[in-house]
Symmetry: C3
Subunit: 412 residues, 3 copies
């Protein structure tokens, strides 16, 4: 039934309520979305040294991401090949080899089984290595794919993204802060909330200092009450265009949110106020610039990738958001602030100031999605109309419906 509901989805309206509440649909999503598509799980800055690892939980799966001795990131299922014990139980850490604490089976960072006492005759250690998971780094962002045959369009995505993102040198940055929040809502509601700023003016007083209230509106859609704001935005945009071009930074918006497996939107957007960073006055929050671009007023390089990412790169820092489903009604939102590797807390930035706007915004969003989860669970819920500035929410659902239907064998 839900397949036909996806096929006949009314564009411009949210999904029926059970898409956000039915544990069976959630299991299918873990298989068809998070089991087949590329999704972001970390930034390279989190794993600077060989032996650094982190574990990623997606549904009932756990994956080890580890930097090997050759400096490459590798990923493996976090399951011992003997009797199935979880190998690494911490969220992150450092190891020489991966040693199972149960019976001491030992694996190299490249997955090979190095040691397993008293293995029966006829068992070949070469067949008992860790099971690999596809991994891909793109300009400092770490994407995984759990499928054995991952979608190939990550190549074209990477070649589109690199000219925009590489100049900001995220792979060489360091993590200033990372904060996890658990939203009491389905992961799609968390993503839908991110994909519009119709709620920003009323719901995000801090963020509204730097975000223009016309986000998501085309020229001819700007309502009269926002005309003054729109004119300020046009001036800021023209200014940003000029500065970017002067630095050789690409400026054109790339928006391909629905068709590719790795649907994406790349845009350099002006910020309100001083236009430099997510501060109350718009000035930089970190004295040491993120890259050596000799320009503080760079607005934000914004990246959206389906199904689980949004991020902003500013002249002084970057803030990367990704979500992971924990249950049909619980979602992890992980926020990572990146600064220049040489920036020093206390001297170059104040951690509380650096994280203030997005910590507040995340908590505000957390409440919005929780009350929406409660409401769409109600049998009395009827999907209402999206307004024009919510078009990316609709795009997210179109992407989602297409991937689900492909997975179910109903694709075109």
């Amino acid at each position: 039934m839900f397949a036909s509901q996806l096929r006949d989805r009314v564009v411009g309206r949210p999904l029926p309520g059970h898409f956000y509440t039915d544990p069976e649909i959630h299991e299918i999503e873990l298989d068809l979305i998070f089991g087949r598509q590329w999704f972001l799980v970390a930034t390279e800055a989190e794993l600077p040294e060989s032996g650094d690892y982190l574990t990623v939980d997606v549904g009932r799966r756990s994956v080890i991401v580890i930097r090997d001795d050759d400096d490459e990131l590798r990923a493996f299922h976090n399951v011992c090949r003997h009797r199935g014990a979880r190998l690494l139980t911490d969220a992150r850490g450092f190891v020489g080899n991966v040693v199972c604490s149960y019976h001491s089976w030992t694996y190299a960072p490249d997955g090979r089984l190095l040691h397993a006492p008293d293995l029966p005759v006829g068992e070949d250690p070469a067949c008992l290595g860790l099971r690999p998971v596809a991994i891909r780094c793109v300009a400092g962002l770490v994407y995984l794919c759990l499928a054995t045959d991952p979608p190939g369009d990550i190549d074209s995505f990477a070649s589109r993204l690199l000219p925009y993102l590489a100049p900001h040198r995220l792979a060489e940055a360091k993590v200033a802060a990372q904060i996890d929040l658990v939203d009491e809502a389905n992961w799609k509601l968390v993503m839908e909330n991110n994909r519009e700023c119709y709620h920003c003016a009323g719901g995000h007083p801090e963020l509204s200092r730097s975000f223009f209230p016309t986000y998501g509106l085309q020229e001819d859609e700007v309502p009269e009450r926002l005309l003054t704001d729109h004119e300020r935005f046009l001036r800021a945009e023209a200014d940003l265009h000029e500065r970017s071009t002067a630095l050789g930074l690409p400026f054109a918006v790339i928006e391909d949110l629905v068709k590719p497996n790795l649907g994406h939107r790349i845009a350099r957007e002006a910020l309100d106020g001083a236009g430099e960073s997510f501060s109350m006055d718009g000035r930089v929050l970190v004295k040491r610039p993120l890259a050596d671009l000799r320009e503080a007023r760079l607005g934000r390089l914004s990246l959206h990738t389906q199904p689980n990412v949004w991020l902003h790169v500013l002249s002084d820092h970057a803030v990367v958001f990704h979500t992971l489903p924990l249950a049909v009604d619980r979602t992890l939102v992980r926020t990572t602030w990146l600064v220049h590797a040489d920036a020093e807390e206390g001297r170059d930035y104040d951690l509380e100031e650096l994280t203030h706007v997005w910590n507040r915004t995340n908590v505000q969003d957390s409440r919005f999605v929780a009350i929406t989860q409660a409401g769409v669970t109600d049998p009395a819920y009827i999907p209402g109309p999206y307004t024009v500035s919510e078009y990316q929410v609709d795009d997210f659902l179109s992407w989602y419906a297409a991937r689900m239907l492909e997975g179910l064998g109903h694709g075109d």
Copy 2:
């Protein structure tokens, strides 16, 4: 299968255990009982002013009950017509309009959509008002029905109840206290527990000061050990009959617990001791009488309505109980004490004293239903025989079985 178990139910025995433990049966009950029948959710005294509201949770549904500017109570599904957010998240409060905190859509207390910025062309605000829920006030009691075509017998119920209840003027009373208890048991076990006093002598030492131990027994069913109690009861009953008649208060018992959708029992019952109130000596607990009846010794006007109510109106106060299912094995029991609007705490009554007997009784009952829930969950459970004084438990189940079978299309 459970339909045939209802049809072939053995009168005089409890239901098989899975009726109290199976989440699927619980869902069907939410649909066929709480989704189709009238049930009490509040007293009018809880919402004295225009703009006063409370929210009622029933299963996955939430309903707003709000007093409109014309002083009428109205009820709406607590779901925004835009993207489904819960509108009011507090249990009670006061509002001018109902404003969604997510995107600021604004509704009048009569449900009309007043404000929704940037609504797409072609969307008619008149079609995006709050969805109404049927509501009916009867002598100060507030009943809801979630069905679009509510059962009509609330009219005959109201005309039967009004002569008994109206003289006590509950609609003009004020709330002295309201206490919620969550029983770890299926809602039917909570109701079944209420429908008999076979457990009172052993289980409710405080309540037994005012309840006669012969409750539920016919003249010829009184066992020898209770004959002395019964004689005292007969004297108290004769006295109460006389006093009631002198005041023009109807006295005859109305008992129609099984056939009507809104099954009910209305009775004026004598109390033991001084016969005035639920105190240790039977004397009034509130100096200011609830209504101006100039008689303290009025026993209790008792009302039972299926599926979720019991209440007692005394000369000095009223105590109203209603239950709402929270899960197959968790039930809300809300107790509301009403006194005259001019009665003043500290001067006219002591809150601890006023609530003492029923607080203790509720906690005692909470344990009884919890151990019964545990026991009926056991595969070794076999429904045993009801004793004669438990006939109203059987009536409750007969009412329940009839409503379920009607809903399933097996009615006669």
Copy 3:
């Protein structure tokens, strides 16, 4: 499907993951394993006096084990025959009769209904007694069977066990300590963990002081790295054989773990170090010997019974372990330390010392099974090979598969 997986089970490999995680399989196990087989629930020492009782929870069932006035242990379903209330809600205690707290129905310790006020005409109290559960004491160990027609091989098991266990007089011992631990794992993983010591060297530093690292290995399977340990073991074993024979204690290993309903292994095993007890140096922990055998160096009499027991009897004390499933992924592990009835804490033993090794070992095992539960839940889990010393794990699964297939009607 899971029936064919049991029939075609690969010997030498664990079960597929869903056997440890699927709530439906768990329900079937509660029926076919814990609902049909004998399993240990207590030691007689826990119930020394008439009126002593304990309650045993198995899935949704609760059973009362009570010592009757004739000194026999009896067992009954813990459910009132009236409306199903749990009768005894404490884990253990003392009663004269079993009285239901709800409506005061009263049962004798032999199950007869003694008192039920106002029972309707036609109801025969003789038909309303407590429902009995099969119970059997074997040399101080208390086994229950929930089936109405329990497997008969408990007789042959008892006649095999008695010559080994009776000399240690467990029925006359007293409980020095009892500690419950809840493992976050399926009950089978808890049992599988117990059935091998491949993890002992790395995982149990305290226990490894007394357990030889060659446990589970045949003569020709001992790897070179363990040859020195093995020689020490052979000397200790020869010594133990001699001492046992001198005392008339049977020494031959009985191993019948798979075929009987009550699969079992009985063995007297040498301990490392001083060879007397589970202490750091191998010396006794209790000055007063458990029985009057005039020999401290008796190693351990080890008993494994399927599906839920392992225990060790030493010259100075016994330690009895049994497991009970609480949920598909939660298991109770109860450890009971028994000493001579006249042994006095403080004088004859120190409680902390007595329980030290197994408390530590239990907590270590608890973590091992929890990480294994997490890992086998992962869709990436592939059952790997057992090593030779893990053969009893395989035996446990063979026993399990046979009992399940018999229950499903697929037995041979």
